[in-house]
């Protein structure tokens, strides 16, 4: 199966690999997927205390090239967005941007889930209600 150029680019030069301090109140962590399914994504955001803007995002992913690319792209998109805007990122945007084939759509779904999971972690840490998942994927 041929990968799109964008997938290859993100896979070869992943953006924002790394780990943020998950005990910090400003950091939200999302860990989704399962080893037996062949993909696990951990996505973290760091939200600016004053502006509410996501000032940093990091990921680590165990998975195929499309899963790595989806999470890498997600961190790129998250940076500079407000938390509310971040929630608007849809998995189909990722599919489109990376030209993922149908069998790889689940990778984008996982990335979207990781974003929501990270945001909810941040919200709960800061005394807010978690966002109800309107698009329950699992």
């Amino acid at each position: 199966m041929a990968y799109s150029e964008k997938v290859i680019d993100h896979y070869s030069n992943p953006r924002n690999i790394g780990t943020l301090d998950k005990s910090s109140k400003q950091v939200g962590t999302g860990l989704v997927g399962a080893p037996e399914c062949g993909d696990v994504m951990r996505l973290q955001i760091e939200v600016d205390e004053v502006t509410g803007i996501i000032k940093d995002a990091k990921f680590k992913t165990f998975g195929c090239g499309s899963a790595i690319a989806s999470s890498s792209l997600a961190t790129e998109w998250l940076k500079g967005k407000s938390v509310d805007d971040a929630l608007k990122i849809d998995n189909m945007d990722i599919v489109e941007e990376l030209a993922l084939p149908p069998v790889k759509i689940h990778c984008s779904v996982l990335a979207e889930d990781a974003i929501r999971s990270a945001i909810n972690d941040y919200r709960v840490k800061n005394g807010l209600e978690p966002i109800e998942d309107s698009k329950k994927h699992y």
């Binding site: 896979y11 696990v40 680590k60 992913t61 779904v109």
Partner: protein, 404 residues
């Protein structure tokens, strides 16, 4: 000069040996006759070439040339053996014994005859991929007609105790079939010494052409018969009709001859390279060899690199052609059923690569592969959350995963 990518997927198929191609060439245009044409020299020449090739094929496995039924490949041979016995020996019984880790050509054929009324026992392989003679013995019933156990496994290369199993079968009057696709041409296979009644094998796994293979069908002690699955002109002693693929068969014969003559030297060289590859890659932390290492083909190594996903790894090692036990590309997200059958953790089953070396693999290529795989594994671990957890001493089994 290294030519990239390097082919290390020789369990899928091998390149043809140039000597094989050379032997085949006269049989496309000059000697194009139908081996079944009895009335003219075109036919006689083709028949002569087929007879000679049949001798070459038989010599490799210590059979008589009359016991070689030419087919289109091992899949067809497996179908012919199992379905053919099911039909031919229906009066004797309908119980078959095979193993969970067989090739799909055997497993799916067994599933097919189950629908037609056969009863099939699927033995569970041990953690090292082997089955025991005790397991076979315990599964035998009064109505057992055939035991089918592969000679060597296509994913992990382990060699089953064929001799012991066939001896047991013989003592109980049960036929023994083996899918020897991965073994013939690579290790000594002797149908007499190994007590084999039916054996499937294929040319393209031993530097021959694709589209041609054989089913060995024993003629003496006992005389074995299978019901044809392809009806027509009654070729191949009535067991497989269809005009013979003369150039393919000539190539198959030549490939067998080269394997017979070069096997010892090839094995000595290839196994040394395989061992080097394996030893070097085992220096990576949390890397494992899958399957029994002692009873194993000399050119195969199936390894798992924990906390790295197989498909992602395949993408990272783009300069070598290998296969992964992780089948995330297919519609199912299931990792290799063979590795799963061995009871491997999902992480390990998802993290495997199969390396298959060949007669044409060079040391330079192996050195390149070692460095390439090490680099890719290290890079992917740097971006693996599982590796980070492992390094922090977190037991992954204690985590509640959000299954997809």
């Amino acid at each position: 000069m290294l030519k990239l990518p390097i082919y290390l997927d020789n369990n899928a198929t091998t390149p043809m040996d140039p000597r094989v191609l050379e032997a085949m060439l006269p049989y496309f245009i000059d000697n194009f006759g139908n081996a079944a044409s009895r009335n003219h020299s075109f036919g006689w020449k083709a028949e002569e070439a087929v007879d000679y090739a049949r001798e070459q094929i038989a010599a490799l496995i210590n059979a008589d040339s009359k016991e070689i039924i030419i087919t289109s490949g091992a899949t067809e041979s497996n179908n012919l053996a199992i379905k053919g016995v099911f039909e031919m020996y229906a009066a004797k019984g309908n119980h078959f014994i095979t193993v969970e880790t067989e090739h799909k050509a055997v497993l799916d054929t067994c599933k097919h005859i189950e629908k037609l009324g056969a009863e099939v026992t699927y033995l569970k392989a041990r953690e090292d991929g082997l089955i025991t003679i005790e397991q076979v013995e315990a599964a035998i019933k009064p109505n057992t007609v055939l035991v089918s156990v592969m000679y060597a496994n296509n994913e992990i290369g382990v060699i089953q105790p064929v001799k012991e199993i066939s001896k047991l079968c013989k003592s109980k009057g049960i036929l023994f079939h083996t899918d020897a696709t991965q073994a013939v041409g690579k290790i000594p296979v002797d149908v007499i010494a190994d007590g084999i009644d039916l054996m499937s094998f294929s040319a393209h796994k031993m530097y021959g052409p694709k589209g041609v293979g054989a089913l060995y069908v024993r003629r003496k002690n006992p005389r074995v018969k299978v019901t044809a699955q392809m009806d027509g002109g009654g070729h191949e002693r009535g067991m497989r009709s269809g005009t013979l693929n003369v150039p393919g068969i000539v190539g198959f014969g030549k490939a067998c001859e080269i394997c017979r003559l070069d096997m010892d030297a090839d094995t000595a060289r290839i196994s040394k390279l395989r061992d080097k590859l394996e030893t070097e890659l085992l220096t990576l932390e949390e890397s494992y060899v899958n399957g029994n290492r002692e009873h194993r083909l000399p050119h195969v190594s199936n390894m798992s690199f924990k906390y790295v996903e197989g498909e992602g790894l395949i993408m990272g090692v783009k300069d070598i052609a290998v296969s992964s036990g992780s089948a995330c590309t297919s519609a199912s997200l299931e990792p290799s059923y063979v590795l799963k059958a061995l009871g491997l953790d999902d992480e390990l089953a998802h993290s495997s690569l199969r390396f298959g070396l060949s007669r044409f693999t060079t040391e330079e290529e192996v050195d390149f592969a070692i460095a390439h795989v090490k680099e890719a594994v290290n890079k992917l671990r740097e971006m693996s959350p599982l590796w980070e957890m492992f390094k922090e001493g977190i037991d992954l089994k204690t985590i509640v995963w959000q299954e997809h």
